[in-house]
Amino acid sequence: MARTCFVAAALLVGCGGPNDAGPDAAPVYNGGSIEIPGCGYTVTTPMGATAPEMGSSVFGVDPTPRMIHLGLTGDPRTTMVASWRTMDETTAATTIKYGKGTALDQTATGITFTYEADFSGKVIPRVHEAHLCGLDPDTTYSYQVGSIEANGTEHLSPTYQFRTAPDVTADPSAQVVIGVVGDCRGAYDVWGQIIEQVQAKSPDLILFSGDMVELGQIQTNWDAFFEAAEPLLTKVPMVSALGNHEVNAVNYYAQLALPGDEEDYSLDYGRAHIVVLNDSPDDISEIAGKAKTFLSSDLAAHSTATWKLALHHRALYSSSTHGSQTDLQQAWGPIYDQYGVDFVLNGHDHDYERSKPLKAGAVQASMADGTVYLVQGGAGADLYPAGTNAFTELSDSSHGATVLTIGPSRLDAVVFRETGATIDSFSKTK
């Protein structure tokens, strides 16, 4: 899904798509969009999903919310998206109660849609999304999601809290902590341990470099992923890059609320400018076409950002099983060099590897002179052997995650195993 917003009493305008045919019409899975004036962006659902609609007063047999997770489609300082499903998959009522601090004094209606989740066409999950806009930066909010019947009966989740991103103009020293993970596909016990370890570092944002599931069209994979991640993702928003195992399935786009077209997009979080790319599109010519054009124009527009990070699945430089991806080196490497991207965050290979600072493939003397490429593909999938190359600073065949602490002129990284033991740590100062 993509791009929307609700302010508490915002008036929703426009609802395109085939579902306008009426409540009794058979659902049509051609996607659609909703524009929300209060937020200034449009939610678009992909082919394979119904057009998004406002939550209605339809209640199923068990409207209990589940698989709650936070995402971002707009400015992280002032917006947040809560997504969930219900036990019954038929409840269309979609409500969020929220407020500053511990208050739950505001209510907003969200949107909902369904999608064809697997090859059979018989698994039709219903997604609920509430887009909150006009929030205050660097502020803690409480929220509950679910539905409220006309008689006042509530089917709401427990209360969770999130914090909006800081406004670095108002608070120049504001640090943000970003967790980086990738490739948990299938092994959700290790993923659960990784979640626990990342949560202990109190991150503000999670970056996932793809391969959340073994196969993108298998809904049970997604259910296991979100169930294991719920303790973290109810408190911290996650943005992600698409991995080859997601196979560009509707399940990915339907369940994750991401900025832009959800494939190639960027966002600013604290002093970090993060550009996210799809390196496994259905049409591979997009790598050197659409994605390359986006990357170049986006970095040109954010050339003054203090920290520039790139997130995608396959690694330009890796010494493990899949190895270095030469098509990405050719298409995107020169742009990373041109704009001085600090760190490129990848997965695909199931190990940890940090490159030396590189420019045009050549090792540089210091981090100030080149880009460091990080493979962090150990969120659960069976490990690959770690290799070494001339560009390798450190490699380790371990499950784990990376946490970046990003301040005004210093970035600290800690890499740790699912047990919490530290694998690597490094810093960059500007």
Binding site: D138, T140, R163, P166, A170, D171, P172, S173, A174, Q175, V176, V177, A187, Y188, D189, V190, G192, Q193, E196, A200, K201, S202, D204, L215, A228, N244, H245, V247, I284, I287, R314, T321, H322, G323, Q325, T326, D327, D382, Y384, P385, G387, L394, D396, S398, T405, G407, P408, S409, R410, D412, V415, R417, T419, A421, T422, I423, D424, S425, S427, T429
Partner: protein, 378 residues
């Protein structure tokens, strides 16, 4: 001298917290962690109402942790939580403070030992083979057997030995951890690690029993970990059985080939001579095999290993097969259809067995499956 430096730092920070913060970060970048900690604290002391104060204290606390000064770090985190309860750093400070109190004790009674523990772990980070740190931590645990985090330390040592492939040494530390564990969850982890050791040794039956015995005391996360361990066990056992089957088949085929060669040649000496002579196809195939291995190796060393095994095994198979046929023709003039079919069938099965063993030996089975399912990396 140190006091003068702090006074100067406070004066700088008081005049301009921004400049003070950046000066402290420069000290960190230069490796002067102690100086940076003082400078960050000076920023918070001199401009407590500024937006820089909570972040400066957080930096100071992290620096103190880096130095192993855990009691001081706890004090700084406590200060953030009390002075800046609504700040972004407060949530992190409270979480870290809770962990630190567990590490150093409620009254900081284990602060020195925990500090040394922290320094050892930081020194080990980034080292492929942290032998020195393994020894230091082992000595620290032996010197302080009542240290509350001794079990965590033992598990770290076991994990590190395990990662280095020293399974027996890892097992000794896990055993020790299970024996001395103070909490049920630590004991469960140690016993799970011991079962993992059995799995790594290939003692599948014992590992299965050990995992099963852990079922009772498991929570949801632990139950998931056991499910995953059983899945891995089942996969490895299945693959081990296939590999054993392949190896046995190849051994039988080789023994059969030698026996046939002996029968066809009439004596061991003649059979040896017949088998020692390379058939023509091997002379053609050998340079091709070398080229394939070279190409595979330069492209991907992991795949190169598999190709080398397959090429080597294939050449040996072609040699043996060709020599047997040459020997049979020399003795009987023609080879019967039944024998030709049996020969071809056995050769084909042997080729498959060699390829399977080579792929498993190189550890690229999963990669092949992924490439088949999701296409080739570009």
């Amino acid at each position: 001298m140190h006091a003068i430096a702090i006074v100067i730092a406070v004066m700088i920070a008081g005049a301009d917290p921004d400049a003070g913060f950046h000066a402290a970060e420069q000290k960190l970048a230069a490796g002067d962690v102690a100086g940076a900690v003082d400078a960050f604290v000076a920023v918070a002391d001199s401009a407590p109402g500024s937006t820089w104060a909570d972040d400066a204290l957080a930096e100071a606390a992290r620096g103190a942790e880096q130095l192993g000064q855990l009691a001081r770090a706890a004090q700084l985190y406590r200060r953030i939580a009390l002075q800046y309860p609504d700040s972004r750093q407060a949530r992190r400070a409270e979480a870290r403070l809770a962990d630190l109190v567990a590490e150093i004790g409620l009254h900081g009674e284990w602060a020195d030992v925990a500090g040394e523990h922290e320094r050892i772990l930081r020194a080990a980070a980034g080292r492929a083979v942290p032998i020195l740190e393994l020894g230091r931590l082992g000595a620290l645990i032996h010197a302080h057997p009542d240290y509350p985090r001794a079990t965590v330390g033992r598990l770290w040592i076991g994990d590190t030995w395990m990662r280095l492939g020293e399974v027996d040494e890892a097992g000794r530390w896990y055993d020790d951890a299970a024996l001395h564990a103070r909490t049920p969850i630590d004991r469960w982890r140690a016993k799970k690690a011991l079962a993992d050791v059995m799995l790594a040794r290939g003692d599948y039956g014992d590992a299965e029993d050990a995992y099963a015995a852990l079922r009772g005391g498991a929570g949801r996360a632990e139950a998931q970990a056991l499910d995953e361990a059983m899945r891995v066990l089942s996969t490895r056992r299945g693959r081990w059985r296939y590999q054993l089957g392949c190896a046995l088949f190849l051994a039988l085929a080789l023994a059969g080939a030698i026996a046939i060669a002996r029968r066809d040649a009439g004596s061991w000496r003649s059979a040896g001579r017949a088998l020692a002579r390379p058939p023509t196809e091997v002379l053609f195939a050998a340079p091709v095999a070398v080229l394939l291995v070279f190409l595979a190796w330069t492209n991907d060393p992991t795949v190169g290993v598999a190709v080398a095994y397959i090429a080597g095994g294939g050449l040996a198979l072609a040699w043996l097969s060709g020599a047997l046929l040459v020997s049979a023709r020399a003795r009987r003039g023609a080879v019967s259809l039944a024998r030709a079919l049996a020969h071809a069938g056995t050769s084909l099965a042997a080729a498959v067995a060699i390829a399977y063993l080579a792929i498993m030996r190189a550890g690229i089975w999963d990669l092949l499956v992924e490439t088949f399912a999701h296409g080739h990396d570009r």
